[in-house]
Amino acid sequence: MTDLDVRKKELAKEFLPMLLKSTKWSKIWTGVLVGFILWGLIALVLQIINGHGVTGMRDNVVWGIYIINFIFFVCLSYSGAFISGVLHFFNTPWKNSVSRIIEIVTVVSLIIGPVFILLCIGRLDRLHYLFLYPRIQSPITWDVIAIITDLIGCFIYLYLTFIPDFAILRDNSIGAPRWRKKLYKFLAIGYYDTPKQRKRLHSITRIMSAMIIALAIVAYTVLAWIFSLTLQPGWNSTIFAPYFIVAGLYSGVGVIIIIMYLIRKYLKLEHYIRKVHFIGAGVILLVISLLFGYFTFSEYFARWFSHKTTDANLLDTLFNTYFWEFIFANYIGVLVPIVILFFKRFRTIKSITFAAVIAVLGLWLNRYLIVVPTLETPYIPIQDTRPEFIHYSATWIEWALSFAGIAAFVLFFMLLIRLVPIIPMSGIINYEREKKKNSKPLAQQQLP
């Protein structure tokens, strides 16, 4: 048995219990999440039976929190793909601690996000028309193509990064049930970490990581165009696509920090996810929060200064009806993370996580303020202006389905980290191998 095999065995021994054993709390937590999902399913059945009248969406505000959740999750996924691609492509030294978290966030959020757009559709029975009679000139078609392509790309990419770990688990899963061993054998596709196989896998993963970055940017842009190519006040903006990219990265990095904190705490991985990783992620969050703040200011300043009637009406709605939401989304959600992350002395694990929570909540509200107030301030007023037609407030059905989506996200995440270790074992081995390779010539030089 080589040193490498011994090391793989050690790592499998360290991480396998996390995959096999369930604690009392993890079972309770799973039960709670399933409860939320069931609650959401009841709401879904009611919505299907009674139609969209059970939601707060009406003639004016035709998009509510479903579309906001869709944008939020899809942006989360794109930012995950973007960050993961960058980490792999540039072979960032500390990628091992966070790359698996990011990859799982990317895929799970890309599964959950599009479900919300389906909840928005009144006639689901006509969904297949989108594929039978696509209009290439419609941004909705571009988005469907982009999301499907991105989803497939992300799945392939995630699988590529999982293969070496599946191989380690296939060879070292002592005490694991038979079905699990069979599953690992099937998923490892005969990978034995030979130099030839390693080179081949490394090459396709690297190409895929570069493509994932490009795909994420394209898909992000198309999502932003769904809004900005319309003439609606608040949406028709040339900087909307880069603004979406920055906003997506902001929420993505925020969610990753929160998950890093939870995993570190509850899976006791302090040895692998250390303060330096939080500080690194915190500095990235700081840079993105500055960019996001700049874009937000530019966006609203230009609208305020141009003083077009519709834009003035929109700003009036934002600063009156949505005053507190606006303050939280665009002031607190940006400035608090900046203040915490700017000063070195504030950069503790807890405060960085707190900044991330504020950023994520602010971002969700920012999405709300992009969608709802604009639809409440249309160019041409509709004839029937009943208050409930003009003003939107989400019903319990919408909240139930939103929480079910979040619960499904967490549950899928938990299930995936029961399938493969949250810290890539192959990444640790590669890191040690590289370290050894780099230190060898130095050792040889020191020899007499």
Partner: protein, 299 residues
């Protein structure tokens, strides 16, 4: 450090919640100057609008103008022995109050034959009373749309009536505007001067008109010291229907997308799917190598 953090947070929060509105005060009337304007417009059917505009303008900020809403304005016909109330109206949200007097209304005139009109705001506890008076002569505009030597021509004659009802052409030179009606506003075609009570204008021949080819022509005297506003209009089938069919180009609503869209999308998708295929082939090769290794190990 914790104390500093707390203090910074409190400052930050206080700063965040300070908006311009926090320091805003109720407008002070002393900062405003009341502007009360009065004008009359004679319409094409010879009815007459009396219109008062009442606003408060900030003395320091020219952009700050607040219309006076719901102020009661009384309109009078003033003559040498007294005055007659013509009607009252309240100002709108934009500060306008107006009444319309029909053609049949007989105005009392002064010794010069002029109609004296007055708009009066009698004042409230907070606002002082205002009044404006204008003196005008009743001018008539006749508008004819005729063909002179096969040329579409607009003929305008302006005159006043004496006490016996005899027409007397307008002697002084007066500015006139010729315009046509558009969907949203009037389009000015010509600005000229009435001389000896007449004005003539040659109409362009390339105006499309409405769906039936009708063109409504307006002749307008605007804001004249002696006559106020006088408007006359007439419609004639002088429109030229534009039958030129434009070649269909690609639009968002056209059936086929532009070629470049198909090209870009195809390049994009072919590139990505080619890479997916390349990845799948490589995975297949990895699997094949793995199988060979397994066979060799078994041997």
């Amino acid at each position: 450090m914790k104390r500093h953090l707390l203090i910074y947070s409190i400052y930050l929060l206080c700063g965040l919640f300070l908006t311009i509105n926090v320091l805003a005060q109720e407008p002070n009337l002393r900062d405003y100057r009341m502007r009360f304007r009065f004008k009359t417009v004679k319409l094409h059917d010879n009815s007459r609008i009396l219109e008062a505009h009442f606003i408060a303008a900030n003395k320091k900020d020219r952009k700050d103008r607040v219309p006076i809403y719901d102020a009661s304005i009384a309109f009078y016909n003033v003559f040498e022995d007294g005055e007659v109330l013509l009607g009252t109206a309240n100002t709108s949200k934009e500060g306008f109050a107006q009444i319309t007097l029909p053609e049949s209304h007989r105005y009392r005139v002064d010794s010069d034959g002029k109609i004296n009109l007055k708009a009066v705001f009698s004042g409230t506890d907070g606002l002082d009373g205002k009044e404006r008076e204008i003196s005008i002569r009743d001018l008539y505009l006749d508008l004819d749309l005729v063909q002179v030597d096969s040329i579409n021509t607009v003929l305008v004659s302006a005159y006043t009536l004496d006490s016996l009802g005899a027409e007397s052409p307008l002697a002084e030179e007066t500015d006139i505007i010729i315009a046509i009606e558009g969907m949203l506003s009037k389009m000015v075609l010509d600005e000229g001067t009435i001389e000896e009570g007449k004005y003539e204008f040659e109409m362009p021949t390339d105006l499309p008109g409405d769906m039936d080819g009708n063109i409504t022509v307006y002749s307008t005297i605007e804001d004249h010291d002696e006559f106020g506003d006088v408007i006359q209009k007439k419609t004639e089938k002088w429109g030229v229907v534009d039958n030129h069919v434009k070649e269909e180009t690609n639009h968002l609503w056209s059936e086929a997308a532009p070629i470049w869209m198909y090209v870009v999308l195809s390049i994009f998708l072919v590139g990505i799917w080619a890479n997916f295929l390349y990845t799948a082939i490589n995975l297949f090769l990895i699997k094949k190598e793995g199988k060979q290794l397994e066979l060799e190990t078994e041997k």
